[in-house]
Structure formats: C-alpha cells, structure tokens
Symmetry: C2
Amino acid sequence: MSSSKRVADSTVRRLSLYLSFLEELEQTGASTVSSDMLARLGGTTSAQVRKDLSIFGSFGKRGLGYDVEELTSKLRGILGLEQSWRVCVVGAGKLGLALAQYPGFAEKGFHVAAVYDAAPARIGTKWDSLTVRDARDLAGDASAEHFDIGVIAVPSEAAQSVADQLVAAGIHAIMNFAPVQIIVPPDVVTRTVNMALEFEALSFALANWSR
Amino acid sequence: MSSSKRVADSTVRRLSLYLSFLEELEQTGASTVSSDMLARLGGTTSAQVRKDLSIFGSFGKRGLGYDVEELTSKLRGILGLEQSWRVCVVGAGKLGLALAQYPGFAEKGFHVAAVYDAAPARIGTKWDSLTVRDARDLAGDASAEHFDIGVIAVPSEAAQSVADQLVAAGIHAIMNFAPVQIIVPPDVVTRTVNMALEFEALSFALANWSR
DNA sequence: GGATGTGAATGTCTTCACAGCT
DNA sequence: AGCTGTGAAGACATTCACATCC
C-alpha cells in the first residue's frame, strides 16, 4: 500500500503488461487466471509474476489463481490509472499530433488538455477540439489548468529548455521524445523514449549476430 | 572482438547515448574526452562508462582520456552503424509515415527501402520516393530486396500476423510499435516500443509520489 | 491437488578502489 | 598528477523450492 520501498522499473513495466493481458482476458469472459498463464503471455516466469504482485499485496487465492476482475482493478489502482491525468504536449509537429489524436491514449486516462508550440505558423491551428497555443503561455496557463504530465515533442536543441519551462510550471512528470538526455530536479520524474536508441540496439544485435 | 559474451541491454543503450554525445563533441572540435565527462552527459558514473567500453576493448589512454574521433568510430563499429541497414515498414498509417520521413533515421544508416499496407485505399499512395506496396507482396519482395529490419506499425490485432510474415520472409530483426508482446523464433531479435507502457510508468510514479 | 506467497540461493549489473600507464 | 582498466565488493533482480492455504 503506497509503501516506501522503491519499485524496480522492470517491475512496473511488467505490471503494465499484465494489465493489458488482463483487459483482453476480461473480454473473453475468463473469470480467473494463474500466474503461469500471465507469465506465458508476458514472456516471463510464474515466480516472477508472483513476486511482482506480492510487492503490493496478496491478490490471489492459493489453489485457484487470481480473480481477473479484481486483479485488473488492483493493477489499475497501483499504476494510477483510476484517475485521469491532465497532459500538456509541447511541440505541435507530427509526433505531437499523433499523440494528441491517438485514441488509446485517452482511453487509458491520459487526457491531452493543451498543445503548445513556439512557431507562429502553428499557433492558432486547430486539431479536433484543441487549439495550438503559444509556448510562452505555458507558465501562465499551468497554475490554472494544473497539468500532471508534460510531453516534450520538440527537436533536440529545444528539449532542455522546454523541460525547464515544464518544471518551472510546476509539472512533476515529463515524457521526453527528443533523443537527448534531459536534466531535471530530483522531485521530477522523467522518461525518455528514444527511437534512435532502439534501432541502434537492433543494429547492434544484427552486427553481433555471429555471437 | 565480436566476442561471445552476452552484452546487457542497458549497456547497449548507454553506448548509443555515448555515441550521440561524441557526435556532438566532434562538432565542437573537442579532440579528447574523459569517462567522467561522458558520465556527466549521460547521467551515469565514470566507472560505468569505463566498464561499458572495456567490454569491447581498451580505447582510452591513461592520464588522457579517449580520443573523440577514434572512440566515435569504434562505437559506430560496435553498434553496427558503419553499414547501412535496409528497413521495410509494414503499416502505412501515421506512425509508418513519420518513420519513413524522419531524416535522422536515414542519417544513422537506416534506409527505408519499402513500405507495405493491407488497406487497398493506401496501396499505391506515394510518399516522397516511396510507393506503398501491397502487404501480400512482402514475402515475394523480400528475397530480392534483402531487408535487414522489419518495422511493425500496424494495429495490435495485426501485429503477430505481420511478425510471422516478416519472419517467413527471412528477416531477423523486428522493431515492433504495436502495444503487444510478439512471439518469434529464437534466431530473431525483437524490440517493442510501447508508448502506453511508458506513460503508465509515469502514471505509477505520480500515483506513488507520496513515496 | 493445485496454485499462491515468500525466504533463500543464484545470477546479473553497478559501484568501489586502486594498480598501472602516460 | 591525471585518468584508464579491472578485480573485488556490494546492490539489485530473478529463479528455486517449498510451506501454506483453498
């Protein structure tokens, strides 16, 4: 329960995966699921599944497994998906657009409340119900609109400066899509999704295929 | 050299990061760099940097550090970025489009050679110099065009089936952007970029902020 | 019987600290 | 003196294996 132990990143990722399987299972009408089943779907071991879940409590019944509906809801709670988060996207290029419009995003409770850009040509553009705002208004808007998550979808050169603005605006969680490392104060959480990095990892694997 | 030791994923990611810093440094004209400098830029420790590099050889000079140009080229070699890889993208939606057109992609040696889609409405569409092909031609084209990397940019439901087709076409490296786990034979490398997962990790951090 | 929850053992990655080269 | 390269120690994550409960 909101324990003080630091939870490993890999654990959180797996919990997310388990949740997505559980949501599929719910559709099929399955009422119960074993750690072994979840492990198979997620490419881990049953022991791993049980360890992951045991960090947060005892959700299963020995001899039976886990109740699909109950575990789903527990995981949603743990991952903070019961509530809806207010997201502001900075950078109204292709990526920003894709994010703001991606439907699976809103479904999971990530509500894109605003989009900002610095380029005059983009400011004022309408996307569905959103109008691209002037990036300079970010700090002012933030206090009233209380954004939870800031998304950086600008070119590398501008990324750190945007991060600084987001932090100054009181945002404590940043998702960074620019392929650079971002520096933030310790009370701000950052994740960087760096596609170049991912492709280079594939390249490495191919180049060293000879093992 | 091309040793048989398994290299940790986290190490490969950091090598990628170091490389991108080195490329920046080259611009500034710096001729030498210390592990401590690289560590600062990449958010690790100097010991970590040295360990990472030492897996592949001794590239530095004691008392001096690393030669920027030399290390850059070594890392390119290790990551397989000296050669250019032939990429085929399956799924001509927003994401596929963004990838095919992203300039930094070609710069790094990832050459998008073909784009496929199953929807008749999209087949034949032209993007720059690329024409969207019929997904059913994938297997046939592959033998002649020798794709190195396949990119899955289709909805979840279709992802596994596309993966199977890529594998059947003789492709050994797959980058998956669908938010599902993909199953492939052991001689095929996969990486999944799952944005939902990343956002849920942020959500988790926010929800457990109370530490 | 069947499957969970969990200490103990194992394995993997990171950090320390220092010898050794320039 | 300065900074690398690396064995040893430490921290962390995963797997084993079994007592425990349905």
